[in-house]
């Protein structure tokens, strides 16, 4: 009888241990999901920071370029218009990642801005005075750097979102994700054809 009692104890112990293990396992999955969610939110912030940087730089750029490009008014005005569009879209979205429509708006407006900037950069090739001006050169460097940062921060964001999304969809995480409402995150996609043709600034 003693052996039966022992067996029972062992069984209960094992069950308890198993249950405890399961609980910890689920907690760790939950924590992992939370961590990844915060990660992608944070990397979205990064994009935001870089976009702001771009918005801040543009007035300077336009101001400096004006002196050289008086008869390219349309291009400059397009940049200004695209910039204000992008700023408005960003304000409307207000950093809310669940606002899918707002986010799509932002992506579209930013893509438009990239296109307009790209056309301004092209002009740089056509006007040699622009290239030999020091203020313009350093502004171009900043714009180029910002474009790179935006691209890199998106790339980082997309990598992190992909990680999060696959973490969320695999078994058994999918149950926990559904239980605690971990919604799918949206990738940053390039919507504009012009933007796909990468903005290039030449310094040579």
């Amino acid at each position: 009888m003693a052996t039966f009692g022992n067996l029972l104890l062992i069984l209960i112990g094992a069950l308890l241990f198993g249950a405890l293990f399961l609980v910890f396992y689920f907690i760790s999955i939950y924590n992992g999901l939370v961590r990844r969610r915060n990660e992608y939110k944070n990397s979205f912030e990064q994009i935001d920071i870089q976009l702001k940087r771009r918005h801040d730089l543009i007035p300077n750029l336009v101001e400096t370029a004006k002196g050289f490009l008086s008869h390219e008014k349309d291009t400059l005005e397009a940049v200004i218009a695209a910039r204000s569009g992008a700023v408005t879209a960003n304000q409307n979205m207000a950093g809310n990642l669940n606002n899918k429509e707002g986010m799509a708006e932002v992506m579209k407006a930013e893509a438009g801005l990239s296109g307009a900037l790209g056309r301004l950069m092209m002009l740089n090739e056509r006007y040699p005075e622009l290239k030999s001006d020091k203020t313009m050169n350093s502004l171009m460097e900043e714009i180029q750097s910002t474009e790179n940062r935006i691209a890199f921060s998106r790339q980082h964001y997309n990598d992190v979102v992909t990680n999060y999304n696959s973490e969320r969809e695999v078994f058994p995480n999918v149950f926990i994700a559904q239980m605690f409402n971990f919604t799918e995150a949206m990738l940053w996609e390039i919507t504009n054809k012009e933007e796909r043709e990468n903005v290039k600034v030449s310094f040579e």
């Binding site: 990397s43 990064q46 870089q50 005075e129 030999s132 001006d133 020091k134 050169n137 350093s138 460097e141 900043e142 180029q144 750097s145 790179n148 940062r149 890199f152 921060s153 790339q155 980082h156 310094f203 040579e204």
Partner: protein, 668 residues
């Protein structure tokens, strides 16, 4: 390139190799235990045996001691690197970049580092510049990510374009990202520990053989046995280090592949990485970091820094460049590249080496630090860099006089800065700003020369519309400018003008010559300005090797030069001129000169004289300039033409003297 796949393979390889390494350590401990066992059981005790308990304790102690030695070796290495990357970067002569720098080349590096920081999600470390380092390389140093620094050589900045620099920085970030500094420090530490075993063995050997000598025959047998144990330990340790190094080399190589693949992940630009490697391959000066310290940073560089011939040398930390190119650019054809393309790349590198100005120490940033808190117009600070002579100094010149000036530049005092800022401040803002533009600065110089010749207009040949269009305005502005402000303005223009292309350069010089010659009389001022500008812009400087002369051989020429200077310094005052001349003559030239009666100044004679004086030995040139300085000091007041002359003489003799060095205090 499928970089994720490459990364996976490299990580797996590293894991396997690290296991090998650990096994190797265990094997060494085991083998040395066996050696000891043999030594004790068969040689020392000669068949007698100790109780097992005692032996167990003894071997455990021995193993623990070995582990302790290895651990201590490791700690020692880690402590050595504890100072963080800054210490190493400083030791290598790196120069920290301010993140707020405005200088375009440096701005670019700072920006690129920040970009990769965004791409990798690692905060950006401090950046160092390795000046005067012609190789294309970069490294990260430091044990943790938070005390790491990243350093880039001047050669890399000079030869790589923006995309390529980005891949280099990304490669370095990958080392940070993958924790390679830690891994390498552990490996080096363990190797150090193993080496201790070998050293222990050789110590025992030495000790016992000494005893043999001291005590003669009596101790020989026992000592001999211990000597064998020592030798065996030495051999085991030695072999351990040898194999350990080989494994470490393999690990380092895998980490390089991993860093390459991660760099491509960050930049998504494998073509730029490949072209970086090609440039490094073609750059004849890529082989080593001039400043040494290979063992500390070698493994963290982009490419090999070792100077020895490649081969089976276990100290190599990097895979062959060709192999690396092949991984990022699968259809790369080595033979084809070595036969057809490499020469082209090499030529373009050589071209850049010749024509491009080196990146100068960021005096500007030091200045800004010095003036912290004071509100000063930025363009003023920028301009004062030109006045302080940063643009004049050829960093390769190894001359004492130069060193003195260099020192005065290195230790920028608030006074000398204040001096140059005062000078600049008295120049109208508009002129100052125009002087920073490549085209408008030419207009200013043209305007200055036209004013001196008393011309309203002049038909400039082959000059652009923009340059010509601005000249009347510049002339107008320059008319009201005091003469003492001409030199600072010229300096300011020169700092922009060094960006002229070769063709623009020769057009510019030719036009200036035409303006000077347009009126029948050439005055001294024109001649001086022209000399200063020409010798600065003259890119093909001749080296007068072999045929240097002494002062004794050029007394006539010196006579003429010093007399001219005396006349210029004492206009309308023959007495004063001769007095000053006599003083200098007796102080410096032992009365070997005769004061010349000069009717008028003649360009042709001056030119002829200078071409001989240029051949003076460098020390003699300094003496001559010293003489000129004391001549100017003689009457305790300096007029513009004296400064202009001095500056021009320095420029012609290729011992450039910056304006701040010529400030009044130095001339009293």
């Amino acid at each position: 390139m499928n970089f994720f796949e490459h990364q996976r393979v490299a990580k797996k390889e590293t894991f396997v190799l690290t296991l090998h390494f650990i096994f190797a350590v265990i094997a060494i401990i085991a083998i040395s235990n066996i050696v000891l066992f043999i030594g004790i059981e068969f040689i020392y005790l000669e068949g007698e045996s100790l109780p097992w308990e005692q032996k167990k304790i003894f071997y455990t102690l021995f193993t623990c001691a070995q582990l302790l030695v290895i651990l201590l070796g490791m700690c020692f290495k880690i402590l050595q690197l504890q100072g963080g990357g800054k210490v190493i970067a400083n030791m290598l002569g790196g120069f920290p970049l301010e993140k707020t720098t405005k200088e375009l080349n440096q701005r670019k590096i700072v920006n690129i580092v920040d970009e990769i920081s965004v791409a990798s999600g690692i905060p950006s470390p401090p950046i160092y510049l390795l000046e005067g380092e012609p190789s294309i390389n970069a490294f990260v140093a430091g044990f943790h990510t938070n005390d790491a620094v990243i350093a880039v050589t001047e050669g890399a900045i000079r030869h790589l374009d923006r995309d390529e620099l980005q891949t280099v920085i990304a490669h370095e970030y990958s080392h940070l990202f993958n924790g390679d500094m830690k891994l390498n420090t552990y490996l080096v530490g363990v190797l150090h520990g193993i080496q201790m075993i070998s050293i222990l063995g050789s110590e025992i050997m030495e000790m016992t053989s000494e005893r043999d000598n001291d005590y003669g025959l009596g101790r020989r047998r026992g000592g001999g046995k211990l000597w064998v144990v020592g030798m065996l330990l030495h051999v085991v340790g030695y072999l351990g280090v040898l194999f350990g190094r080989l494994i470490k080399k393999e690990i380092n190589i895998q980490r390089e592949y991993l860093a390459d693949a991660t760099a491509v992940q960050f930049t998504r630009n494998s073509m730029a990485l490949a072209s970086t490697f090609k440039k490094i391959l073609a750059n004849d000066r890529h082989q080593y970091l001039k400043c040494g310290m290979h063992d500390v940073v070698g493994h963290m560089c982009v490419t090999e820094v070792n100077i020895n011939k490649r081969g089976s040398n276990p100290n190599y930390t990097h895979p062959e460049l060709v192999e690396r190119i092949m991984r990022v650019e699968p259809n790369f054809n080595e033979e084809d590249f070595l036969k057809n393309e490499i020469e082209k790349v090499r030529e373009s590198i050589e071209l850049k080496n010749k024509e491009e100005e080196p990146v100068h120490p960021n005096i500007l940033d030091k200045v800004r630090k010095e003036l912290e808190g004071e509100d000063i117009d930025k363009s003023l600070i920028l301009g004062s860099k030109a006045l302080m002579g940063a643009i004049l100094l050829d960093p390769n010149a190894n001359v004492d006089f130069h060193k003195k000036i260099k020192q005065s530049i290195g230790n920028i005092s608030v006074e000398s800065l204040g001096y140059s800022i005062r000078l600049l401040d008295s120049i109208p803002v508009e002129l100052r700003e125009y002087a920073q533009n490549l085209d408008l600065s030419r207009s200013i110089i043209y305007g200055l020369f036209l004013n001196l010749s008393g011309l309203e207009t002049f038909q400039l040949k082959e000059e652009t519309e923009k340059v010509r269009g601005f000249i009347p305005k510049a002339q107008e502005k320059l008319k009201t400018l005091e003469r003492s402000k001409h030199l600072p303005l010229i300096d300011l223009c020169l700092s922009s003008l060094r960006e002229l292309s070769k063709k623009q350069n020769s057009i510019f010089i030719r036009n200036l010559k035409l303006i000077i010659k347009s009126d029948s009389k050439i005055n001294l001022q024109e001649y001086l300005y022209y000399s200063i500008i020409k010798s600065f812009l003259d890119k093909k400087k001749k080296i007068f090797g072999g045929s240097t002369i002494k002062i004794g051989k050029a007394l006539n020429e010196i006579e003429y030069l010093v007399s001219t200077l005396a006349y210029a310094g004492f206009p309308e005052d023959r007495e004063g001129a001769s007095l000053a001349f006599r003083r200098v003559n007796s102080d410096i030239f032992d009365n070997r000169l005769n004061f010349m009666e000069l009717e008028d100044f003649k360009v042709s004679v001056l030119n002829k004289n200078f071409s001989k004086l240029k051949r003076l030995k460098i020390e003699e040139k300094e003496l001559l300039i010293g003489a000129c300085i004391s001549l100017i000091k003689f009457d305790r007041r300096t007029i513009p033409i004296e400064l202009e002359s001095l500056r021009a003489i320095g420029a012609i003799l290729e011992v450039p003297i910056p304006l701040t060095f010529l400030k009044e205090e130095n001339l009293k």
